[in-house]
């Protein structure tokens, strides 16, 4: 998709609602990411012009915060907590099981068909439920590799339902 075919209606609506001010940069990026599940490159020159903030500056904000993604994310974003509590209660095997199941790695976080993204997060603040993971912001407590894969298989059925 190049900038001439990109539909800016969504961005325009967001800019209209939040206001084209530099102090709103983060809020605008969050709203755009909420819609697209990532920050498409095409939006940068566009909002730069509208906000009167340079593209490099907005890029700086987008790359500073871990929460912003410049890569398209899957329909299901799975975040495995690797904070201290989850880590000592064996979150890494959960992460590895999910990655293996989906053919993903630390560098490749999203499946080619844009269905699943697996990433780690430093702490979900749900230490009592360790090891925890979230799927599209819904918390799944006390994970084991087996439980995680079972949930994943369920999601896969849902995800590929339309295609079979």
């Amino acid at each position: 998709m190049n900038s001439s075919t990109f539909d800016y209606a969504v961005v325009d609506r967001i800019l209209g609602e939040i206001g084209c001010k530099q102090c709103n940069t983060i809020a605008i990026l969050q709203a755009i990411q909420e819609y697209y599940r990532y920050l498409p490159q095409e939006i940068f020159p566009y909002i730069s012009e509208k906000m009167g903030v340079s593209e490099a500056t907005i890029y700086g904000v987008a790359t500073f915060y871990e929460n912003f993604s410049l890569e398209p994310k899957g329909r299901y974003v799975i975040k495995v907590c690797d904070g201290t509590a989850c880590h000592v209660r064996l979150s890494l095997p959960v992460l590895e099981a999910l990655r293996k199941e989906l053919g993903l790695s630390a560098d490749k976080k999203t499946t080619d068909d844009l269905k699943f993204t697996v990433e780690t997060v430093s702490c979900l603040g749900a230490c009592g439920l360790a090891p925890a993971m979230t799927i599209n912001d819904v918390v799944h407590p006390t994970m084991t590799p087996e439980k995680a894969v079972a949930i994943l298989n369920e999601l896969k059925r849902e995800a590929y339902k339309d295609e079979t």
Partner: protein
């Protein structure tokens, strides 16, 4: 207590009077202490990143002086054993992941990191060298970036956004991965960079440098089949002396002419001749626009950084920018017409070098509108390098005059190098009165001084002409917004670099107002000493212009409107 009543601070036992300094660092420097800094510049926002300017207070607490508000009664120390150790540690840590090939670095002779390492007696770096591979972006005609030599002081980022309102580069990523980057890391030539080179002038290390075109020039000079001519811009002549131990701001145009001839340049010209041509053409254009009732203000067109800025950000203003080529391009046109065919008939190639205070001129020379006119642009910094390489003892050589087929150029042309100069030169021409009293009157209209925005009002044949003189592109943006909101001017002079060409990106960086003022003074006093001070007194240029006949517009004007 005693100090509190007296409104003073004690720095290393020296009592210093407070006078509204914005931070402790300024007070310490006022005490005569040469406090080291990488990231601090008075005209930029305070960033507090490098921590070299640390001080110790009465209780032994250590903090950075650039980000400390001065309070009456403070007693601080800047040179304790702890502070010396801290500074050395900082330098060691900076060097731990920094390239140490100083001998082959472009910034070798002006690198602050190298300078401080020597100054603070760094004899060893305890940490293994984890320097990154060079990450070179040489896509720009003006500057070269190497992110691996960056110490993250942020001066380039701040000058680009705060002073120039461009923001082509910014900090990207975080923590150990932080880097100064364009959006998405694209080559700088594909961004909104205008090539003003201020980032290179501020960069304390070799991370951003002015593109070095000196070898190209040496090659042309060594080629027997090449006839080499050169022109020297106004601002260059007052920015060379300090590097050779001469008086700061001294006009050394004569020595530069001698040096260039010694290196093998066949004809040496003064760009002020081009400036005189510009004055003729631009005044005529301005008066015509006034009489025709064309849309005003008319903007000046000498500064290639401004042209680029307008093209990228204010394309709607392009029709209001004077169609006059810059003085560099006007003189290059005249020389090309005079020499290209003549040289070809003798089996030689005419090669034209422009010595400029400006990195954006490198881009201007490469524009398709001017292709083949100027073969190489070297900045003042590059000229200084070439003089050093030539082996000449610059302080000892005898001055010589520039070639003078176009007459002794006017003082009006000389002051093009400082903000307000173009305007003053145009007013002198338009007022058409070359008497000393008339010139003095013009000099007091408010066009002089290094302020970023100046306004003046002059009377031209019963009409009040409202003028704005602006330098620095952030100031320019603000002025353009006020014009959009209805403020009226007839003529607006824009120079991209704050202070005008004397503070251009290709000049040795003027770290304090002292040097800037010395350079401005150098130009104004040269103007005062000039035999002729208005462009209309330059009869040779007038004859030259009429000799162009119908070709004149084609040779001296350009249309940037696409």
């Amino acid at each position: 207590m005693e100090n509190k009543e007296k409104n003073t601070i004690t720095v290393d036992g020296i009592e210093v009077e407070l006078d509204g300094e914005r931070n402790l660092l300024e007070v310490i420097r006022k005490a005569g202490i040469d406090m080291p800094t990488f990231c601090y510049y008075p005209e930029l926002s305070i960033y507090g990143a490098c921590r070299m300017c640390v001080f110790e207070d009465e209780k032994g607490r250590i903090d950075s002086s650039c980000s400390t508000i001065p309070r009456a009664g403070m007693a601080v120390k800047t040179n304790t054993a702890r502070l010396r150790r801290y500074r050395k540690d900082i330098l060691e840590l900076l060097l731990a992941n920094h390239c140490r090939d100083c001998t082959t670095c472009e910034k070798n002779d002006s690198c602050k990191l190298r300078e401080f390492a020597a100054k603070y007696g760094l004899t060893d770096v305890r940490f293994p060298n984890t320097k990154k591979e060079p990450e070179i972006d040489d896509s720009s005609a003006c500057i070269v970036r190497d992110a691996s030599k960056c110490i993250l002081c942020g001066a380039c980022v701040r000058v680009c956004s705060e002073i120039q309102n461009v923001g082509a580069i910014a900090f990207a990523k975080r923590s150990s991965k932080v880097t100064v980057s364009t959006a998405f890391g694209v080559p700088i030539s594909r961004t909104n960079c205008i090539g003003c080179g201020q980032c290179a002038a501020y960069c304390p290390t070799g991370a951003i440098t002015v593109r070095n075109d000196t070898q190209k020039v040496w090659d042309a000079l060594a080629d027997k089949d090449t006839y080499v001519t050169a022109q020297i811009a106004p601002a260059v002549r007052v920015a060379v002396s300090k590097e050779f131990g001469l008086e700061d701001g001294e006009n050394v145009i004569g020595k530069i002419c001698t040096a260039l001839r010694y290196m093998g340049v066949d004809e040496v010209y003064d760009t002020t001749v081009g400036a005189d041509m510009t004055v003729f053409e631009e005044t005529e254009e301005f008066v015509r626009k006034l009489e025709n009732g064309d849309k005003l203000p008319m903007f000046t067109s000498c500064c290639p950084g401004w042209i680029r800025f307008a093209e990228k950000n204010y394309p709607e203003l392009l029709p209001q920018i004077s169609t006059c080529r810059s003085p560099m391009q006007m003189l290059a046109s005249a020389l090309s017409k005079k020499l290209d065919k003549k040289c070809a008939s003798e089996g030689k190639k005419h090669y034209h070098i422009a010595v400029m205070p400006c990195t954006a001129k490198k881009f201007e020379a490469k524009r398709e509108e001017f292709a083949g006119m100027v073969d190489a642009v070297i900045t003042t910094v590059e000229l200084i390098k070439m003089i050093k390489q030539s082996g000449l003892m610059f302080d000892k050589i005898k001055p010589s005059d520039p070639d003078s087929v176009y007459g002794p150029s006017s003082g009006a042309g000389v002051i093009f190098g400082v903000t307000g100069g173009v305007t003053e030169a145009v007013i002198r021409k338009a007022a058409n009165d070359s008497s000393d009293s008339a010139l003095e009157e013009i000099s007091y209209t408010g066009v002089r001084g290094l302020e970023g925005v100046k306004e003046a009002c002059v009377k031209l044949s019963d009409r009040e002409i409202k003028i704005a003189v602006v330098s620095g592109l952030a100031n320019t943006s603000a002025l353009l917004e006020s014009i959009k909101e209805g403020k009226h001017y007839d003529l607006v002079e824009v120079m991209a670099c704050p202070g005008g060409c004397i503070c251009g990106g290709g000049q040795p960086h003027a770290e304090d107002d002292g040097t800037k003022n010395n350079r401005a003074r150098g130009l104004y006093s040269s103007d005062e000493r000039s035999v002729i001070r208005t462009s209309q007194q330059n009869k040779q240029v007038e004859e030259l212009l009429s000799s162009f006949g119908g070709e004149k517009h084609h040779l001296l004007h350009v249309n940037y409107v696409k």
